[in-house]
Every structure is written in C-alpha cells, then in structure tokens.
Subunit: 140 residues, 3 copies
C-alpha cells in the first residue's frame, strides 16, 4: 500500500451543533481552521440520515434515506481537499432502539448531539481522480 | 459547531480485564490516573451487554439487554467529568457468529478480552446539563 | 485493567491498494517500517470478506465468508508482534447497499479502496498465550 509519514499538528475536541448537518459542520470547521489533512473519530446521535453505497461495478453511489432517530456508533473519517475545498470522508454505523444497525458512507444527517476528536497532520492531502475505482483518492 | 484546540498529554495502551465490566474499568483507570479529558478506541469481545438508546422525543434512555457473547467491533468513546467523576461515554457495535450486529450506547458489558488506546488531552472536560437535548454535554 | 503509558512515535496516513488483502498489506507495511506497536483506524470498501468470531466456550475461531461488495465502516485495530511478526488485529463493520451490516474480527478481505491512519508507539507489544481465554494477548 502507499503511505506517507506525517507530523501531527493541531488537535481538537468538538461538540456538534444540534439541528445542523453532521458532515457539513465538520467541513465548515475545517474551512474555518484551514485543515487540509486530518483523521477524526466521533459518536453521538442523529435525527435522520442519508447514506451512500458505492456500486463497485457501476462505479456510482446509490443513496438510501432513513427518516428516523439513531445513535451514531461511531463516525470515523478524514478531512482532505477535494477540488480545493475540505471534504470530510465519513463512515458511520447507526443504531436503533432495538439495537439493530445500518451503516455506510455518510452524506447527510441532522445532528441530535455529537462529540468529535480531530487530529490534524502537517501536510496537505488532495484528492484526485483514480482511474481504477472512479473514486477521488489520495495520490500518496 | 463548538470546538476547542487541545494539547495532547499522556497516551496509554491497555488490556481490559476478563470478567470485569468494560466501561467500569475504563472509568476506574481514569480515576486512578486522574484523566479528565481523553478519547479512546478499542476492540475485543464481551460475554453480554446492556445498551442504551436515547429516545429523542421522550428525552430518556431506553435499555436493551443481550445475554450472549459478542465480538466488540469497535468501541469508540471519550472520558470527561460528570458530577466530578470520570465518565466514559462509550459507543459500540457488537457482532455475532453469523456476522449480524447490534449497536448503541454502552452501559455495561462483561469483558471477555479487550484492547484499548487512550489519548489524554491537557484540559478538563466537564459535562453540564443541556436544555435542548436534556443530555449532559460539554460547554466548549 | 492492565495498562501501559506509551510515547507516541511515527504517524502515517495510507491508501490501501486495490485488489490486495486489507489486513495483509497493513502487516506488510508494519514489517517494512518495523512497527511493533500501533493503533489504527480506517475506512473504505472491500470486494468480499472472511470474518472470524471467537467461540468463547469452545475457545476457537469460527469463520464466515461473504462474497459480495461492502463499505468498510470502519476498521479499528492495532499492530503488535505475534511469534515475532507484525500482526494487525483488525475489527470491522461492513455495510451493504440497503444499509444492512455485518461485523467481526477481520481475517481477509479484498480491498476496493481504503484509507488508514496509523499511530505508532515507542514500545514493543508482543502477544503471548493467555490461559484464561486461550487467546494471544499483551502481558502489560
């Protein structure tokens, strides 16, 4: 695999805002603090969710929408640049009152409550189109 | 979202104790080492589990108990103070022999085996009652 | 629980290689960089997966194979030595197009795409046989 040794930079703990989009507010924070490379982990609860699944044959994302409350257990992701703007690549597992779960690539979700740890790195990660997968990946 | 830049402090790797409560031993460790602010990630297996789901309308936790063995895949959480004692806010996904999963906010679980990474921060995070959600959140 | 305070060492971000085994390439990386102690988190997608579930009564692993594409949401694990070679203890939750999930201890999975953060520690973690669980654990 391709890898890059990085130097740790700033670290943050965050409280996500009730009623706002989970991923959008991470990206707004990244833009405000000019964070070009980071990983994060978080947990909380959301009021709904739109998840994406990448169809590896058709090479496009299919969306599925859930209009119900969930625990977010957990959210794992990273921040890098996509077309010069911060993009928060975020994968989540969500759980219901009976413990049942759904998961996937998070597009949008209305935050009920959320807590996040963000570790920035002293580098810039810029996504570029990858021929094989038709995804935007890091050319490390 | 509200956020706080933090300085990294001590880091730990841990082996959870067979037969003891998963969350309780993280809190005992935090009390012993006087850890007031940290995030952690872990993995392992448990012999049972009581999960909580926060009812966003009724604003109270509903409990669901599972009396069966699970892989813990993974546990993500944080340590902060609640009423001056360390509280380990812990979300988990648990899996069975057939791969099926349940998840939620972990109340208790008897550890079979467990491995943890804890990153402490040079700050004190103290939970306070939040009017909107009726949860105890960080006033960052 | 038993725990060890550790000093942070090198940190990496990585892009997993399309078509290669997820866990195998983490172990090859660890061997190449001589990483004896680390935790990691990651996300991505896989083309198939073989998961293990530890039967706590029989004290042996049962395998279950899935021959279908998944999002990997997320992968959490650690690197330590087992019989002097790097072993990547990896737990995953995998999700399908309808959001449904499976999870467990990852044996093998063909990578579609993957992104990883690895944090190394200034110590050597060597797994040793544990009498109680019949697993290879850290004698911290």
């Amino acid at each position: 695999m391709d890898y890059l040794e990085v130097e740790g930079a700033r670290e943050y703990v965050a409280r996500l805002e009730h009623g706002s989009d989970w991923r959008g507010q991470i990206e707004a924070f990244a833009a405000e603090e000019r964070i070009d490379a980071a990983f994060f982990m978080g947990l909380g609860a959301v009021q709904d969710a739109e998840l994406l699944f990448y169809d590896q044959d058709d090479q496009e994302y299919d969306a599925i929408t859930f209009d119900e409350p969930f625990e977010m257990t957990p959210a794992i992701g990273n921040i890098s640049l996509l077309d010069d703007d911060p993009f928060a690549h975020t994968h989540v597992v969500l759980s219901r009152e009976d413990g049942s779960t759904v998961g996937g690539h998070l597009d949008t979700a209305t935050t009920f409550a959320g807590e996040l740890y963000v570790r920035e790195f002293e580098t810039t990660l810029q996504r570029e189109h990858d021929e094989v997968t038709d995804l935007d990946l890091w050319p490390l």
